[in-house]
C-alpha cells in the first residue's frame, strides 16, 4: 500500500509556525522523519491561512526535495497553487485533489496530463457527497472518464470515496468499504483507491485505534493508498500485518523489520 505522509500541512500548528518563520529545518525534519518511517509519498499542503499560497507551496516543495527523493502529493483546491507546486516537482507528482464537479474536473485533468501527475479524485460534486456507495462510484466513473479523455491512464487515478467521522455519520464507514470494493470494476486497468484515513476518527476518543482498525478493514477491500501519519508505529504495524495476511509479502519471523527494510 502507498503510504502518503500527512504531516506537512499548514493546518497543523507546528507547520503553520514553520511556514511563517520560513523555518526550513523544521519542514526538513518532518520530511525526513516520514520518509524514514516508511512513507512512499509526502502530502504538501500550505494550509488555509497562508498569505502567499503559491510562494509558500514552492518553498515547501523545494525544501522537502532538498532532503528526500520521495514523490510529492500537492494538496490544494486552488489550481494556480497546484500548478506552482507540480511545476517544481522533480519526481512524478500527485495532484491532490479534484472532485467530480465538471468544470474543475477538466481543468485538473489538463494539469495532470501536462505534468504527468497521478490524481486523487474525491467522490463529490456540486450536489455534495452522495449518501451511498453507488452514488460515490457514479462520480468516480465521471472522474475516470474525464481522465481517460485527457490521456491520464485510469490506473493513475486514486478514487477517494470520502470517509466521514464515525461520530457524525456512523454508517459511512461501511458505505465507503463497499465503494472501495465496487470501484475496481469501473475501468480496465481499474482505478486505485485512497482514503484520508484520519477523517474517520475526527473528534472521537481512541483515534489511533479507530484509524488502524479502519485501515485494516479497508485494506481487506482492496485499498491502494492512504493519506495518514507514518510516525504512528502501531498504525504502520497494523498495515504491514494486514498486507502480510493478504499475501502481499512473503512471511518471515521479522516481518515488521523486513517491510521497513524494503521487503
Amino acid at each position: 500500500m502507498l503510504v502518503i505522509g500527512e504531516l506537512i500541512n499548514g493546518m497543523y500548528k507546528n507547520v503553520r509556525k514553520a511556514i511563517k518563520a520560513k523555518d526550513a529545518d523544521a519542514i526538513k525534519r518532518l520530511a525526513e522523519a516520514q520518509a524514514k518511517a516508511g512513507a512512499g509519498m509526502l502530502d504538501v499542503n500550505v494550509g488555509p491561512a497562508s498569505a502567499d499560497p503559491k510562494g509558500t507551496m514552492e518553498w515547501l516543495v523545494d525544501t522537502i526535495q532538498s532532503v528526500t527523493d520521495l514523490p510529492l502529493a500537492i494538496d490544494t483546491p486552488n489550481l494556480e497553487v497546484m500548478e506552482a507546486g507540480l511545476k517544481r516537482c522533480k519526481r512524478k507528482p500527485m495532484l491532490n485533489s479534484t472532485t467530480g464537479q465538471q468544470d474543475k474536473l477538466e481543468a485538473a485533468m489538463d494539469l495532470a496530463a501536462k505534468y504527468k501527475a497521478s490524481v486523487i479524485g474525491l467522490t463529490m460534486d456540486e450536489k455534495g457527497i452522495p449518501r451511498d456507495a453507488d452514488g460515490r462510484n457514479e462520480i468516480a466513473l465521471r472522474i475516470v472518464a474525464a481522465a481517460m479523455e485527457k490521456g491520464v491512464p485510469s490506473d493513475e487515478i486514486y478514487i477517494d470515496p470520502l470517509i466521514l467521522p464515525c461520530n457524525v455519520t456512523q454508517q459511512t464507514a461501511g458505505i465507503v468499504l463497499e465503494a472501495i470494493r465496487q470501484c475496481k470494476v469501473l475501468a480496465d486497468p481499474p482505478p486505485k483507491t485512497v482514503l484520508g484515513l484520519s477523517n474517520v476518527s475526527q473528534g472521537t476518543q481512541e483515534r489511533p485505534l479507530l484509524n488502524r482498525t479502519y485501515l485494516v478493514m479497508a485494506l481487506a477491500q482492496g485499498l491502494d493508498a492512504a493519506i495518514m501519519d507514518p510516525l504512528d508505529d502501531a498504525l504502520m504495524d497494523a498495515m504491514i500485518a494486514a498486507e502480510l495476511l493478504l499475501n502481499k509479502h512473503i512471511y518471515c519471523d521479522s516481518f515488521l523489520k523486513a517491510y521497513r527494510k524494503g521487503g
Binding site: Y251, C252, A258, K261, G262, G263
Partner: protein, 321 residues
C-alpha cells in the same frame, strides 16, 4: 489482427554481487565475477534484462575422507586428494568461472581437519587459481564457527563468497565477512520464510544486499526439485515485485545434490534398465542444473566437466547466442 503480447515489467531488480578481487582491488584474482541484476524472470529477455548471466562454479573438496562416485573418480583421479591440482584443472582445463572449495574434510565424519589444515588448503587453492573463490564450511555449527573465521582471515582482501549462514548460526560468519571484506551465503532448508529471515538477520549484522547470496537448498531431479523450483520462482517473483529482502542472487549446489542420488552413480550391472552409469550421472547433473537455471539460479556449483559443458550450451541457447 496482430495480437499484442503482454509483457510484465518488474518493479524491482535483483541485487548484484561481485566475487573476487583483482590486484588493483587488493586481491590476487585475475578477474572478478558479478552476478545478479536481473529485471525479468530467468531468460524472459523480452521483458527485462539479465545484465550478468548466471555463472558456473566448479566444486572441489579439501582432502575429505570420503568415497567419490566412480564417474567423478574417473575424471579427477588422484586430484581428488590434491585440492590445488583439482582446482587448477577445473579452471584451466574446464573453464570454471569460479572455484567452490567445500571444507568437507573439516566435518567430524570426513576427517575432522583442523582450522590450520583448512587455512593451508585455502591458501594453496588461491595460489593455484586465478578465478574467484567460494568457500563453504563443513555444515556443522561448531566446526563452521571454528574453521570459517580462520579461512576468512586467510583470504582477506580476495572478496570471496563464504558459506553458509543459517537462521541459528549466522553471527560468526557474518562478522568474519564484514571484517575481511567477503560476501556471505545465507542458507535455508527449502523454506521461503526462513530464506527471507536469514537475509534480514545478516542484513541486520551490517551486510548490504550487494554482499548476500541466497542458498535456498535444492534437490536433484527425482529428489524434490519441484519444491526447490517453486520456492525459487516465488522468491524471484516477490523480488521482481519489489521485495528487497528477497532480491539477492541465488546459489545452487547442484553437484553436491546430484552425486548423492543413486540414479547418478549406481552401476548398470545393478539396474540394467537404467543404462550406462557414465552418461546417466552426467545427464543427471546437467538436467538438475538446467531446471534450477530456469528457476532463477545465478551461481551453479557443479562437479562434472561434461555436465558443465552441457549446461553452458543450454545457457547459450536460452540467451539466444
Amino acid at each position: 489482427m496482430a495480437i499484442e503480447v503482454l509483457k510484465d515489467k518488474a518493479a524491482g531488480a535483483i541485487a548484484t554481487v561481485t566475487i573476487g578481487a583483482t590486484k588493483s582491488e587488493g586481491g590476487t584474482r585475475k578477474s572478478a565475477v558479478t552476478v545478479g541484476g536481473e529485471t525479468c524472470l530467468p531468460f524472459h529477455l523480452k521483458e527485462g534484462e539479465m545484465p550478468h548471466p548466471p555463472i558456473i562454479a566448479m566444486e572441489i573438496c579439501d582432502r575429505a575422507q570420503t568415497d567419490w562416485p566412480p564417474e567423478i573418480e574417473r575424471v579427477f583421479g588422484a586430484k581428488l586428494k590434491d585440492p590445488p591440482a583439482w582446482a587448477e584443472e577445473c579452471e584451466k582445463k574446464y573453464g570454471a568461472q569460479a572455484i567452490c572449495l567445500r571444507l568437507l574434510g573439516a566435518h567430524s565424519d570426513y576427517g575432522n581437519n583442523s582450522a590450520d589444515d583448512c587455512v593451508k588448503t585455502v591458501k594453496e587453492v588461491l595460489s593455484a587459481t586465478t578465478v574467484p573463490l567460494i568457500i563453504v564450511g563443513p555444515g556443522q555449527k561448531d566446526k563452521d564457527n571454528d574453521v570459517m573465521p580462520a579461512c576468512s582471515q586467510a583470504a582477506k582482501g580476495e572478496k570471496c563468497l563464504l558459506g553458509s549462514a543459517t537462521q541459528d548460526n549466522y553471527k560468526t560468519l557474518a562478522a568474519s565477512c564484514l571484517a575481511d571484506g567477503h560476501s556471505i551465503i545465507g542458507e535455508s532448508p527449502i523454506d521461503i520464510n526462513i530464506a527471507k529471515q536469514v537475509n534480514i538477520l545478516v542484513s541486520e549484522m551490517g551486510l548490504p544486499p550487494g554482499r548476500i547470496v541466497m542458498d535456498p537448498t535444492v534437490g536433484a531431479v527425482g529428489y524434490g526439485i519441484e519444491y526447490a523450483y517453486s520456492i525459487m520462482e516465488r522468491g524471484r517473483l516477490a523480488a521482481l515485485g519489489g521485495d528487497k529482502m528477497m532480491a539477492m542472487p541465488v546459489i545452487c549446489f547442484v553437484g553436491k545434490e546430484t552425486w548423492r542420488a543413486k540414479e547418478a552413480k549406481v552401476d548398470q550391472s545393478e539396474v540394467p534398465a537404467w543404462g550406462p552409469a557414465r552418461e546417466r550421472g552426467i545427464l543427471w547433473e546437467a538436467m538438475t542444473a538446467t531446471v534450477l537455471l530456469i528457476a532463477g539460479a545465478d551461481i551453479l556449483v557443479m562437479r562434472h566437466p561434461e555436465a558443465v559443458e552441457k549446461v553452458r550450451g543450454v545457457m547459450d541457447e536460452l540467451s539466444g547466442k
